[in-house]
Structures are given as structure tokens and as C-alpha cells.
């Protein structure tokens, strides 16, 4: 009894569909050919064409805006640059005015021992005279 029970218990439990056997059946479908469907192809091309066209239209629609956006960045940058340059020019004009102040020029002239022309040192040319005197050349 005990031995028989052990034998029974050592047997594996059967798996489902254990009694079903599969095998490979070779089928030759080399002679099966897909029939041509020109309508489906047409639809396919139509779809692709329409899609492409819509894409192009969308690009054409949004491209100027995008381009305008980038140009807007450039324009604003140029405007701020123009403002900065105008300010720089004003600052330079102010600096020039400071440098050309008569008081400063007089100090510089004094440092270089320059003086206004003394009496008799300035020769006024009469309107009819030639430029010989001014050019400091002798007449031929």
C-alpha cells in the first residue's frame, strides 16, 4: 500500500492539451500573386500629396511670421544699438566741448609759451594783392 502510494505520488501531473500534437505542414503559395489595385495606390498618392500640400501651405503661412519674429529681434537689437551709439556720440560731443574750452586752451597755450600776435606781426592782405605774401614766395 505504501509502495503503491509512493508510485502514484511520483507521477507528474498531466499538462493541459498534453494529448494534442503539432506538426509542420508545408504549403506552397508561390503561385499566389497579389492583384494590382490602382485605386488604392491612387488614394495613397492623393493622401501623400494632400499631406504635403497642407504642410507646404502651413509652412508658407507661418514662415513669414517666424521670419518676422527673428527680424523683430534683430530690429530691436539695432534700435538699442542706435540709441547707445547716439548716446556715445553725445558723450563724445560733450568731451570735445570740454577739451575745447577756452580756459583749457589758454592753459595749454601758456604751457607751450604761445601768445597772441604782437602789434605789427599780423599782415592784412588787401583784396587786390596777390597771394605771394601769404605763401611767402617771391614774385617771378
Amino acid at each position: 500500500m505504501h509502495t503503491a502510494a509512493l508510485v502514484r505520488s511520483s507521477r507528474l501531473r498531466p499538462t493541459p492539451n498534453e494529448d494534442v500534437y503539432f506538426f509542420v505542414k508545408r504549403i506552397d503559395n508561390s503561385r499566389v500573386v497579389r492583384a494590382a489595385n490602382p485605386r488604392a495606390r491612387q488614394r495613397c498618392w492623393q493622401f501623400l500629396g494632400t499631406g504635403g500640400l497642407i504642410t507646404l501651405l502651413l509652412i508658407g503661412l507661418f514662415l513669414p511670421s517666424a521670419y518676422g519674429l527673428f527680424l523683430g529681434y534683430d530690429l530691436e537689437e539695432l534700435k538699442s544699438q542706435q540709441k547707445r551709439l547716439l548716446e556715445e556720440r553725445s558723450a563724445l560731443e560733450l568731451e570735445e566741448a570740454r577739451l575745447l574750452a577756452p580756459a583749457r586752451l589758454q592753459e595749454l597755450a601758456r604751457a607751450r609759451e604761445l601768445a597772441p600776435p604782437a602789434a605789427g606781426r599780423v599782415v592784412y592782405l588787401s583784396p587786390g594783392s596777390s597771394a605771394e605774401l601769404a605763401w611767402n614766395v617771391k614774385s617771378k
Partner: protein, 678 residues
């Protein structure tokens, strides 16, 4: 089986359609909410995110001189502010900002602490306004996120003190507070505009729209000549300091157009510096040449002479009795500075004889004298676009006293500004036309052509021949009269000296300080410049201190204006004659009305003599009489002129007697008599 499958497909399709429909309705509802119901709020939020309203600066107009040199201009500068609520540690913030911006750290800390906590808590605090570019660069490089930079405008005067009184200045808000800046505020100031800018997430602008168009201020070109202005200021400063005067002013004018080529006062100030407290600083900002009238003294004799030429048969060679230096005018004995029995009218002007002028004035008569003084523009403002212009003082004939004609003939009982004198002198210089002083040469609209300020139509107030005769007589003043020191090298010149005693309001006495002046023009045949010099508080006469200033300024002005010389160089006036410069007009012939407050203020309590009656409590206030004994007449005259003494000379040779004696103090109006014996 097939019908079953078809029904299922149809059901599925219906379900899909419903789902799509519900989805579409949901989207539509959301769109309705976004576009219509919540539109305003969403728009506001979007605007906050990507729309920036920027202020567009409209710079204040630039001021140029007549040759296009910049005298005043505005530049954008940064101002620094903070949001105190964002500052974690005010002590650290104060340390950083004070170091970079040169501020008091403790005071800044207190301000920051007060603004960041307690009842004074706020979100904005100015730290320092209008900082220098260097400070801005240093602070910006620190990239402190709690520091905010705001752009403002700052007014610069690149020539410093040059033409300070004429240009004026601006306050911290860049509003004019003096001079041209104040008078033409509406024209100079710009109105800022605004721009709406669309920005991206990085705050970079990609589109902008001008919301309010900025209107920059209009630029102005003045009639001022920078070089002449500089020389005028330099010479005025030197003369005031050298002669220990209190104040001084100069006006240089083109008599043909009325263009003011220079207008200078001393003391002066730097308009770049903010107004500092203190009386001295306040006085330095007075535009003396325009706002402070004074008694002109003997320079006014030109008006007397011109009126006489027009209204009486007198001619330059007509003999005027001078009573040997004495005249009894309505019971009062008047003494002249020099004793002349008689002089030609030309010599009355050349020698600046007071009695001669009184005699001429009496020949003209009260009504006609008044009319001519008015014709020359005295007693009313010239209309120059400067604030607080004084009209001077000229009483109506009905208010004149019997002796007023004598006073006015000598330049007393009337007060004028330096600018009014320059205008009057221009009448003589330009052939009898009263010009209106012009300060603005052109207005510039931004981007437009300059609009030239038209010269107003002149009014003929004197016959041309009268003006020319007066001009010739004024040339005599420079050639052989009291104005020899005004002689120009290479140019003919005419002019008139003047000295009026100054009345001390505190001590109620006339002092021996003078309002020394000179008004003149050059060249005589076709005058191109009129120069009027006034030195207040001089111890010397106008011919001694103001005439040399005229010479320097007129010479430079003629050179800078390329005026051809009309004389060979190196010719000097006759030096054999003693250089008499005593042209002191007699003050105190009659009682005047109280002085205008402006004059009193400008003189700092010391008012120019106003021809009032001699005060009862006249005291001997000096100067001390020097010892003239044994000296030549020339030496005595020079010494007395240097001290501002009136000397009555008798005889010739060497001084043998004098009264009062050396060392005594002179009372007002008292002369020193010196007897010369060979």
C-alpha cells in the same frame, strides 16, 4: 453573424462620434472661457509677462554759441534705487553701495533699515541719483539683483563757469532755475514718450510700438561768442580782483543787430555744481548786468549831450560856461573835480565836467531830457529773454525836483543796468537806431531747419548826424579825455568813463568807493562792437580801472570778428597831457525815492549812490589825505586818482600847500585843495 457584427460597428462609431462631439464641446467651452469670459484677466496676465512699457527719453535741448560750440547739453545717466524688501542684510547692502557710490555707510544703513522694516517699510528707495558712468559700470559689474538702475538725464555745462549767468542752470528734475534755461524752459524741455515692447521669456524685445511720440527739446543757438565771452570774463575777474572791487559786469554787443556777444558778471559760479547754502554763493548767482540797476554816473553825460545836439542849437564846439569849477544850483554850491572857466561841449564830455553837463542839461530842459532818456530805453526793460530783468529807475518829470535836471545830466537820480547802457551806447554807434538786445540767434526743431530769430525793426530815436557827432565827441574822450586808457592799438575807439559814489546803507554815508564804468565802441567809423564795463566798489575812477578792461575786451572782440584795423598799429594817444581820469559825478543834489531792493541785495547792503541829499550825519570815513607837498601836478593827480580822491588844483609847478592837511580823514564830498607854485 453579419448583422450582429454590423450593429456593433455602428454602435462603436456612434460612441466615437459622441466622444468627439463632447470633446469638441469641451474645447469650445474652454475657448469660450479663454477668449471671452476670462479674456480681460488673461490679457492682463499676458501683458505682465511679455509686454513692457518703456519710457523714451526726450533730451533737453542743447545750447550752442553763435559758432555752434556746445555751451550746455544733456546726457542720459543712471540713477540707483533698491527694493528694500528684497535686501536680506541691510548692513551688507549698505557696505557695498556706500563703497561703490561714495556714500556715508552709516546713514545709508539707517535708511535701508528704516525702509525694510517697521512702519516705514516700502518697496522703493533711491540710493543715489545721476551717478557717474564709472560708478554705474562698477555697480553693474556686481550684478546685484536687488539693485535697480533707472535712466535719467543730467545737464552738463562743459565750459564750466563760462556764461554761467546767461545760461543759468537746472534743478535736480532738470527744470531751468535761472538764466536762459529758466526763461526758455518750455522750448528747451523735452516731453518723454513711451514705447510698448513685446518681450520673450528672456525679456528680449522682438517687437515694439511707439505709444506716445517723444518730443525732444529744441536746440538753441545763442548770439554769444565763446571767445569774446571768455576774454570778457577773464578781464573782468582780473580787474575786480586787482582793484579790490566787490562786483563787476560786462556786456559786449553788436550795435548793428543788438546781438549780445558776451555778458559776464563777477563773482561767478559753476552751473555744474548744485546750489550751495551761503550768502556769498547766493550773490555769485546774481545776474548783475541784467537784474541789478545802478547809478551810471558820468557815462550818462553822453545821453545829455545827444539830447542837447538834437534839441538845442548847441554844437560840439559850442562853449559851455563851467564857472571855474563852481556853480550855484538852487542855493547849493557845486564844485567840479577840475576848475574850468569854460569848455567846448566836446570837451565837457572829454573832461567829464559835471558843471558843464549840468549847464547842458539845463539848456535841454526837464521835459525834453526826460523824453530823450526814455527814448534811449532807460526806465523800461529791454525785453531780453532772461528772468528778473530790471527796468532800472527813471522818475516821471512830475516827480523831479528842481535840481533833478542837474543830477540826471550827470547820471544820478536814474538807475540803469549794464545791458541798458550797452543798448544806449549802441544807439550812438549805429547811427541813432534803438536796437533790442538779441540773445537767441536761432531755434532748431529736431530734424528741421534752424529758424533764425528775426531782428526786430529798429526805431530811429536820434538823427544819424547827431549820432555821428556824438560818436566823434566820444572818440575825443579816448584821445584826449578821461578815457585814454581805452585807446586800442590799430583801431579807432570812442567811449565815456563814469564814476558814481556808492552810498553805504548801514552807515548812511557816501563812501569813497565808486561804481566805476566805461562804455565805448570801436571802430569809430563803423562800430562793430559796443562794450560796457562796470566795476562796483572800486577805489579808482572808471577811466583808471574800467577803460583798460574795455581795451582788452574790445581788441580781442574785433580780432575774433575779423574786423579790419583802421589805424596803423603802435599809435598811442597823446601822453604829454596828464592822464586825467577824474570823472566823478556829483551825487546828492536832490532827494530820490527809496532804492530798489534788487540793487540793495546785490550790493550786499552797500547801495550805489542814488543822488540823494547829503545825509545829515555825514562823517569823515576816509580815505586819509596823503601828503602832496613838493610833488608835481601829474604825480598828485595820479596819486589822488589811485586813492579815489577828488583834488582841486590851483596854479602850476610843485605842490606847496594843501587843505585838509596830510593824515586827516575826508568827509563825503570833500575835496583836497592843492596849491602849486613854481
Amino acid at each position: 453573424m453579419e448583422p450582429l457584427s454590423s450593429d456593433r460597428a455602428a454602435n462603436r462609431l456612434n460612441l466615437l462620434v459622441w466622444i468627439a462631439l463632447i470633446w469638441a464641446v469641451a474645447i469650445l467651452g474652454r475657448l469660450l472661457d479663454l477668449q471671452i469670459l476670462s479674456h480681460a484677466e488673461l490679457r492682463r496676465q499676458a501683458d505682465i509677462q511679455h509686454l513692457r512699457n518703456l519710457e523714451v527719453r526726450a533730451p533737453r535741448g542743447t545750447i550752442f554759441d553763435r559758432n555752434g560750440r556746445v555751451l550746455a547739453m544733456s546726457l542720459p545717466v543712471d540713477s540707483v534705487a533698491v527694493d528694500p524688501r528684497q535686501i536680506k542684510d541691510p548692513a551688507v547692502a549698505a557696505g557695498i553701495l556706500a563703497g561703490v557710490l561714495n556714500l556715508d555707510e552709516a546713514a545709508l544703513y539707517e535708511k535701508l533699515k528704516e525702509s525694510s522694516e517697521g512702519p516705514g517699510r516700502r518697496g522703493f528707495l533711491w540710493i543715489k541719483r545721476k551717478i557717474s558712468p564709472e560708478e554705474s559700470e562698477r555697480l553693474r559689474s556686481m550684478k546685484l539683483e536687488w539693485v535697480e538702475f533707472r535712466q535719467e538725464s543730467r545737464r552738463y555745462y562743459p565750459k564750466g563757469t563760462l556764461a554761467a549767468h546767461l545760461l543759468g542752470g537746472v534743478d535736480s528734475e532738470e527744470k531751468g532755475n535761472a538764466g536762459i534755461e529758466m526763461a526758455l524752459e518750455d522750448e528747451l524741455q523735452g516731453l518723454p514718450g513711451s514705447v510698448r515692447m513685446l518681450t520673450d521669456v528672456k525679456q528680449r524685445g522682438y517687437d515694439s510700438e511707439v505709444f506716445v511720440e517723444p518730443q525732444p527739446g529744441r536746440n538753441l543757438t545763442l548770439t554769444l561768442h565763446e571767445g569774446i565771452q571768455y576774454v570778457a570774463e577773464r578781464e573782468l575777474k582780473a580787474a575786480v580782483e586787482e582793484n579790490n572791487c566787490q562786483t563787476g559786469s560786462i556786456v559786449v554787443m553788436d550795435p548793428r543787430t543788438g546781438d549780445v556777444l558776451a555778458l559776464a558778471n563777477y563773482p561767478t559760479y559753476d552751473p555744474n555744481e548744485p546750489v550751495k547754502p551761503g550768502e556769498k554763493e547766493k550773490q555769485a548767482r546774481f545776474d548783475l548786468a541784467v537784474s541789478v540797476p545802478f547809478e551810471p554816473g558820468s557815462v550818462f553825460k553822453v545821453i545829455t549831450v545827444a539830447a542837447a545836439l538834437e534839441t538845442t542849437p548847441l554844437k560840439p564846439e559850442s562853449i559851455i560856461p563851467c564857472g571855474s569849477g563852481r556853480i550855484n544850483l538852487f542855493g547849493r554850491v557845486i564844485r567840479d573835480h577840475d576848475s574850468y572857466a569854460s569848455l567846448s561841449m566836446a570837451d565837457v564830455l572829454a573832461k567829464s565836467s559835471n558843471i558843464g553837463a549840468i549847464q547842458i542839461g539845463m539848456r535841454v530842459g526837464d521835459a525834453r531830457m526826460y523824453e530823450y532818456v526814455r527814448r534811449f530805453g532807460f526806465g523800461k526793460a529791454t525785453g531780453v529773454p532772461l528772468p528778473a530783468e530790471s527796468s532800472g529807475m527813471l522818475r516821471r518829470v512830475s516827480e523831479w525836483q528842481p535840481s533833478s535836471i542837474g543830477s540826471i545830466a550827470m547820471g544820478h537820480e536814474v538807475s540803469t543796468t549794464t545791458l541798458q547802457l550797452a543798448r544806449a551806447c549802441s544807439v550812438i554807434a549805429n547811427g541813432g537806431l534803438l536796437v533790442r538786445p538779441r540773445l537767441i540767434l536761432a531755434h532748431h526743431k529736431p530734424g528741421g531747419k534752424p529758424e533764425i530769430e528775426p531782428v526786430e525793426e529798429f526805431k530811429q530815436i536820434l538823427k544819424p548826424e547827431t549820432a555821428i557827432m556824438t560818436r566823434r565827441m566820444m572818440e575825443g574822450v579816448v584821445l584826449h579825455g578821461t578815457g585814454k586808457k581805452a585807446h586800442l592799438d590799430g583801431y579807432t575807439a570812442g567811449g565815456k568813463t563814469g564814476s558814481a559814489q556808492i552810498f553805504d546803507l548801514e552807515k548812511k554815508v557816501y563812501t569813497h568807493r565808486y561804481n566805476a564804468s566805461f562804455m565805448g565802441f570801436a571802430p569809430v567809423t563803423n562800430p562793430r562792437v559796443v562794450v560796457v564795463v562796470t566795476l562796483n566798489g572800486s577805489a579808482k575812477f572808471g577811466g583808471a580801472v574800467a577803460a583798460p578792461v574795455f581795451r582788452e575786451v574790445a581788441t580781442t572782440a574785433l580780432r575774433l570778428l575779423d574786423v579790419p584795423k583802421d589805424l596803423p598799429e603802435g599809435i598811442s594817444p597823446d601822453t604829454n597831457e596828464p592822464a586825467g581820469v577824474d570823472d566823478l559825478a556829483i551825487a546828492g543834489l536832490s532827494s530820490p525815492p527809496p532804492p530798489p531792493p534788487a540793487a540793495a541785495a546785490a550790493a550786499g547792503g552797500v547801495l550805489v549812490a542814488r543822488a540823494s541829499s547829503r545825509p545829515a550825519n555825514v562823517q569823515a570815513v576816509g580815505p586819509t589825505v596823503p601828503d602832496f607837498m613838493g610833488k608835481t601836478m601829474r604825480a598828485v593827480l595820479e596819486q589822488s586818482a589811485a586813492l579815489g580822491l577828488a583834488v582841486e588844483v590851483q596854479g602850476s609847478g610843485l605842490a606847496r600847500a594843501q587843505a585838509p592837511p596830510a593824515g586827516s580823514l575826508l568827509a563825503h564830498g570833500e575835496h583836497v585843495r592843492v596849491q602849486f607854485v613854481r
